[in-house]
């Protein structure tokens, strides 16, 4: 009749033991370290061909020498500019259209089917059109970015605008809030959590499409540098640039999450962590 926990404990106990915050942080660090070690060791042992996949140390030294060139910073600035403009336009369109679609039932019914049709079309399918219209300049890539990134924002904002609580609405009406006052003080704060989610998704998608446009269309930026590095056989350099795009994506996510915490401190998704 021994129902003792200790007797059941196998040597793999740590697999199903819940972790505390410190343990979780260490597990995360350990994961990154193991990944980096693999990147270094696998090419050296010949498990992957070092000609196509140079060891991490080479990639890092290529990165360091890249960082010293003005071309790199120019490309980074170009990518960030394209991304920023594209994201800005997408957010503006998404917010306005989302509020209209979410807030006005007639507009919602009028646009729903069309949006459901247009939304799944991959933005990259418009590359030939973009090139025809704008050549290889920034505008061509902006077209791709906006087409891809506008949906996340639009859909989220329109969900948010439909989510205004009926009791909150009645409260606003019974206290005779003017229409614009209700929009700013009731609708916008309700939409905000949705908009922040939409913004995070849009920001990631916009970055992906910015790099894609540079890779395929040849709009100036990091993507174009990657193509040049590949064509000139600078394999380590190519990986170095890929790493940079990875860090860029990470940075975008971290910054948006920090913003989220500030703006939505009152929201259920954030406030639990803040309490104590």
């Amino acid at each position: 009749m021994s129902n003792n926990v200790a007797t059941r404990r196998s040597w793999l106990w740590f697999l199903w033991t819940p972790l505390n915050a410190v343990q979780r942080a260490w597990a995360g660090v350990a994961g990154v370290v193991v990944f980096l070690v693999c990147l270094q060791v696998l090419p050296l042992t010949g498990a992957v061909d070092p000609k196509h996949t140079p060891p991490l140390s080479e990639v890092i030294s290529a990165l360091v020498s890249r960082l010293a060139t003005p071309q790199f910073w120019e490309a980074l600035l170009n990518t960030l500019t394209t991304w920023g403009i594209g994201l800005g336009i997408s957010v503006a369109i998404g917010v306005v259209a989302g509020l209209l679609i979410g807030g006005i039932p007639v507009v919602r019914e009028f646009t729903a089917s069309t949006i459901e049709f247009l939304r799944p079309i991959p933005s990259v399918a418009f590359i030939p059109l973009a090139v025809l219209l704008y050549g290889t300049g920034r505008d061509a890539t902006l077209l791709l970015i906006i087409y891809a990134a506008v949906w996340q924002m639009l859909i989220q904002v329109s969900y948010g605008a439909q989510d205004v609580d009926p009791v909150a609405r009645d409260t606003a009406r019974s206290y005779r809030f003017p229409k614009g006052f209700t929009l700013i003080n009731v609708v916008v704060p309700t939409v905000l959590p949705y908009a922040v989610t939409g913004f995070r998704l849009s920001a990631s998608v916009a970055l992906i499409l910015a790099i894609t446009g540079e890779l395929i269309i040849g709009t100036p930026g990091l993507g174009k540098l990657i193509v040049i590095a590949q064509e000139s056989g600078a394999v380590a350099s190519m990986y170095a640039l890929v790493l940079v795009t990875g860090f860029l994506g990470l940075a975008v996510n971290v910054i948006v999450r920090m913003m989220e915490r500030r703006v939505l401190h009152w929201h259920a998704s954030v406030r639990r962590e803040g309490m104590k």
Binding site: D165, V167, A168, D170, T171, R173, S174, Y175, R176, F177, P178, F181, N185, V186, P189, L192, W266, H267, A268, R271
Partner: protein, 276 residues
């Protein structure tokens, strides 16, 4: 005062005048008669409770009086003015306090928002907000958020918001149905207390017979759907009420038995004009 003044208004202190109010919902050409005929007066300074069986159309009635719902016929006038939209000088306290307060605003900001909507200047807003929070005993939580407070405290905030608005009439829609019994007793005393001190006019809708008697000077008993007023019962209890002694008085017991019987008859389908 001229002669025409005294003639035009028969009873000068009638604040809310309801005459033959009807409400029929049209659901796919299938009319549902919610309110058949309601006629009653509320005088300035009254505290009137409306009690009825569940499904008696209490909320429909309250929303019609609040101008949130357009009646199908008859009239409701506040101070002689037909109610067609939420009227000036009326505040509504809803049952769902958590949804009626705005989670992105602090307690003080919540209370001040209707004043801000009216264009009241900052200093006056702050002063009225502080006073109202003081009146409901929540001066010390002004800077906290609604979701950090208990249900009873949240409903106090909603009450403070209504009081700060300085309404001529306060409508309350089963405001304490969702709080525990102990808190409920405290809130009932608070309503009596505010009514006394601030000279409010209160229309209090509830399904709780004891609550209606404890609070009101008058209790209107509603019939089943379609709603009519079955009885208008005067509550001749001493003005100074106390949870323990008032509820133990023989008159309270007698009134409870009377109202209880009327509500039972209402459930059984008695209509006005039938023998009680």
């Amino acid at each position: 005062m001229t002669i025409s003044d005294s003639v035009s208004v028969q009873s000068p202190d009638v604040l809310l005048q309801v005459r033959g109010l009807r409400k029929t919902y049209e659901v796919r050409n299938d009319p549902i008669e919610a309110i058949r005929r309601l006629t009653f007066d509320i005088h300035a300074g009254d505290l009137v409770c409306i009690v009825g069986p569940s499904g008696a159309g209490k909320t429909t009635l309250l929303r019609s009086l609040a101008g949130l719902l357009t009646p199908s016929g008859g009239s409701a006038k506040l101070d002689g003015e037909e109610i067609v939209e939420p009227p000036k000088g009326m505040a509504v306290v809803f049952q769902e306090y958590a949804r009626s307060l705005f989670p992105w605003l602090t307690i003080a900001q919540n209370v001040a928002l209707p004043l801000k909507a009216q264009g009241v200047d900052r200093a006056t807003r702050a002063e009225k907000t502080a006073k109202a929070l003081e009146a409901v005993g929540l001066a010390d939580v002004a800077k906290r958020y609604p979701w950090q407070l208990s249900g009873g405290m949240q409903q106090r905030v909603a009450l403070a918001r209504a009081v700060a608005y300085e309404p001529r009439i306060l409508l309350m829609d089963e405001p304490f149905a969702a709080v525990d019994a102990q808190t409920r007793a405290d809130l009932e005393d608070l309503v009596r207390n505010l009514w006394h001190r601030l000279g409010l006019t209160v229309l209090f809708v509830t399904h709780d017979i004891d609550e209606s008697i404890y609070l009101g000077q008058r209790v209107l008993v509603l019939s089943n759907r379609p709603t009519e007023i079955l009885d208008d019962i005067a509550i001749n209890l001493p003005d100074e009420r106390d949870q323990l002694t008032t509820r133990n008085e023989p008159e309270f017991a007698r009134l409870r038995a009377e109202v209880y019987e009327r509500v039972q008859q209402a459930k059984a389908g008695r209509r006005p004009g039938d023998a009680a």
